[in-house]
């Protein structure tokens, strides 16, 4: 499974490219609409082609991501996948209670994080050393909140609540508590 940073980089490139194109297009339109013209309507064929393009784009986006972003399919089918490791975590009074002070995972293992809240709605996210996000989910009281993740990069990760739960929620950080190790090597 590719690391989520690769997906973020791809998305950044695609959206930046789109923004540049649409800004240039609007600038061109603003310039041209003030120039002399014939005053005729756009041909309906162009309009219907545009509608078709939007339809294809809207639908295909999700089909493409489902087939290219590895965790998408795994997430929707997680009930049928046996994890290599499971960590049960509880949250109460703005505090995570972890099964151990360090949760160690082997590289390429599929790990299930099962998080329970007994009071408010919280979030559960894993963050890299540079503060970028690996993944997140919501933690809703009275419901099962589980996420299956396959780690493909060795490293040390921090847990942080990703949902606002009042001003106290800002401090819901468990630093460096998840360690992904490569049994055949060492973390750099």
């Amino acid at each position: 499974m590719v690391d989520s940073s690769v997906v973020i980089n791809g998305q950044t490139l695609a959206y930046t490219f789109y923004c540049i194109v649409i800004i240039l297009l609007m600038a061109w339109f603003a310039y041209m609409v003030t120039k002399s013209g014939t005053g005729t309507f756009v041909k309906p064929a162009i309009f219907y082609t545009f509608v078709g393009f939007l339809t294809v784009l809207g639908v295909s986006l999700h089909i493409i991501t489902y087939n290219t972003i590895p965790w998408a399919a795994m997430d929707l089918n997680r009930a049928n996948i046996t994890p290599d490791k499971t960590f049960v975590i509880t949250v109460q009074d703005h505090k995570f209670t972890l099964p151990s002070s360090k949760m160690v995972v082997n590289l390429n293992d599929k790990v299930l994080f099962d998080v329970k809240s007994s009071d408010l709605t919280y979030g559960f996210g894993l963050f890299r050393k540079d503060n970028s996000m690996m993944f997140q989910m919501q933690v809703v009281p009275g419901h099962r909140n589980d996420i299956l993740w396959q780690f493909t990069k060795a490293g040390i990760y921090t847990i942080r609540s990703t949902e606002y739960s009042g001003p106290k929620g800002v401090f819901m950080i468990e630093k460096d508590v998840v360690e992904v190790v490569d049994p055949n090597g060492t973390i750099k």
Partner: protein, 538 residues
């Protein structure tokens, strides 16, 4: 004319408040209140930007989150609702060529919205009640973090705004359907059917197509108002629910917060909120684009029937789209995530894309156009949605949502660009268009200031969204604080763009004050000397 004279009497003394009709005054009052609250929002936004870079001592952390709670609500209700209400209460009679059903009710609407906004803003300011607009259960009833009394006033303020909104809804639908005194009996049912798109839908199956009884912009206003009615009911119900817990606590009873299912509540809440965000905003904006495009060009709208049908599709989409907010909720059924969260949401790309294309095609048909103030702001509004809608579609994806949800990406390139650039620039376009009509020909004080307003707002809005988005892609969460300055570079750049927005607003505000003068601005709030329901003086 000296500076003082212009400041007091307006540019060339052209604005004369005594010549305004009650309808003009009513619409102008809404706009003034809306702009004052917009000023609140800009200042609050800047305070939060500063705090995110350096936690300044005059703002505490609870105060920061109280500001964050009030900020979007003041923006939506105090500012946007006020401007939209004023414009539509004037435009529906204008387009229907019949008087507004009740000017008195319109003025009461303004009182409820203005007072209600101030009450919840002030309650938050004093008590730091800060469950944020998400109100995820049972956070709003968490009295360990928040004051019960402050919360009670906060919710009461919201309820007052909702009462005002209900009056607006009633006034709009009554104006469409009623028969004015001395008029021939109006076909109420047929008018309503046309406004809501029922007759248009029936036309699909009829050989002899019936003519549309209401114009396209009125149809847009009516359909957006349907979403507004549902949303009002939901917010009122939710407010009453929270109030029950608050009153219970004040009386010494701690009601069981687990009696409400948190996920069900979340679904309910987002269904209601999306009636604004993915419903009435998009429908009203599309309707306003169509109206402005036809008014600016004097031409018929390109593909008018398709545009009308798309508005109906958008209305239905807005009822079925909420699940994209719950893509990271693991207990949410997968079928809802895929169907409602992804597929139906993708329709918004189509409906907004159509509105975008139709508006541009209509403008194109009238080349060459003069780059007037309404036109340039309209183009800015179109660009805003062209940037913000795809950003929203990307996060409404099961795969991408896993790494985007609740980051600054959501609130930056999507929400802020949609509201600040897309929606607000569209509203500014309408304001610049309506200004001479509502003021009986008053002249804008300075075109240079209009240009400063335009460029500062456009660059500031897009820039702020962009830097917030970059921070989000690097992992910065929304609704949080980074006390070690982890994302300071992006936040400083976003704050600089926020400063541009502030400069743009100050240029606009100063320009308007100098155009109508202080005397004229005060006169807007005095009773009209002219009587009757005419839109403009005879």
């Amino acid at each position: 004319m000296s500076f003082i004279k212009t400041l007091m009497n307006g540019e060339e003394g052209l604005f004369k408040g005594d010549t305004l009709t009650p309808m003009q005054k009513m619409a102008l009052r809404f706009v003034v209140i809306g702009l004052v609250y917009y000023g609140f929002v800009v200042i609050e936004g800047m305070l939060m930007r500063i705090f995110e870079v350096t936690p300044v001592s005059f703002i505490s952390q609870p105060q920061f989150f109280a500001i964050m709670t009030a900020h979007p609500l003041v923006g939506i209700f105090g500012s946007t609702y006020s401007i939209v209400f004023g414009a539509f209460l004037f435009l529906v009679p204008f387009l229907m060529k019949k008087p507004l059903w009740s000017i008195k009710m319109a003025n009461w609407t303004l009182v409820f919205v203005a007072v209600g906004t101030f009450v919840f803003w002030f309650a938050g300011f004093l008590s730091h009640y800060a469950p944020l607009y998400t109100l995820y259960w049972p956070l709003p009833a968490d009295f360990n973090q928040f004051s019960v009394v402050g919360g009670t006033f906060f919710i009461t303020g919201i309820a007052l705004v909702m009462v005002g909104t209900a009056l607006f809804i009633l006034n709009i639908f009554k104006t469409i359907t009623y028969t004015p005194e001395g008029w021939e009996k109006q076909p109420s049912g047929a008018l309503l059917g046309s406004a809501l798109g029922i007759s248009g839908f029936k036309n699909l199956f009829r050989k002899n197509k019936k003519e549309h009884l209401v114009s396209l912009p009125v149809a847009a206003i009516a359909r957006g108002t349907v979403d507004m009615a549902f949303n009002t009911a939901i917010i009122l119900f939710t407010g009453v629910l929270i109030l029950i817990y608050m009153v219970g606590s004040m009386l010494g009873f701690d009601l069981k917060t687990t009696a409400i299912d948190a996920l069900l509540y979340k679904n309910w809440f987002w269904w209601g909120l999306d009636l604004i965000a993915d419903g009435l905003v998009l429908i009203f904006v599309a309707g306003t684009w169509y109206l402005l495009a036809t008014l600016i060009t004097g031409k018929k709208l390109f593909m008018e029937n398709i545009a009308r049908a798309a508005l109906l599709v958008e209305l239905v989409v807005s009822w079925t789209v909420w699940s994209h907010h719950l893509l990271s909720d693991q207990a949410q059924p997968g079928i809802l995530k895929v169907l409602s969260g992804e597929m139906v949401t993708a329709f918004e790309l189509i409906t907004q894309g159509l509105a975008f294309f139709i508006t541009l095609a209509t403008l194109w048909s009238a080349r060459p156009l003069k780059m007037t103030n309404p036109l340039k702001f309209l183009l800015g509004g179109l660009l805003g949605f062209a940037l913000a809608v795809p950003a929203g579609i990307m996060q409404a994806d099961v795969g991408l949502n896993r790494i985007l949800h609740n980051t600054q990406w959501v609130i930056g390139p999507h929400v802020h660009v949609a509201i600040l650039v897309g929606l607000t620039m569209t509203l500014y376009s309408a304001i610049y268009f309506l200004f001479p009509i509502l003021t009986n020909g008053a002249k804008m004080y300075s075109q240079k200031l209009v240009n400063i307003h335009f460029w500062c707002h456009l660059i500031g809005g897009i820039g702020m969204g962009a830097f917030m988005g970059m921070a989000g892609l690097k992992g910065m969460l929304r609704r949080s604080l980074y006390v070690e300055g982890e994302f300071n570079t992006y936040m400083v750049l976003a704050a600089l763009c926020g400063t541009l927005l502030l400069i743009g607003f100050l240029a606009f505000f100063y320009n308007i004050v100098m155009s109508v003068g202080i005397k004229g601005a005060i006169n807007i709030f005095l009773p009209a000397k002219l009587k009757g329901k005419n839109l403009l003086p005879e």
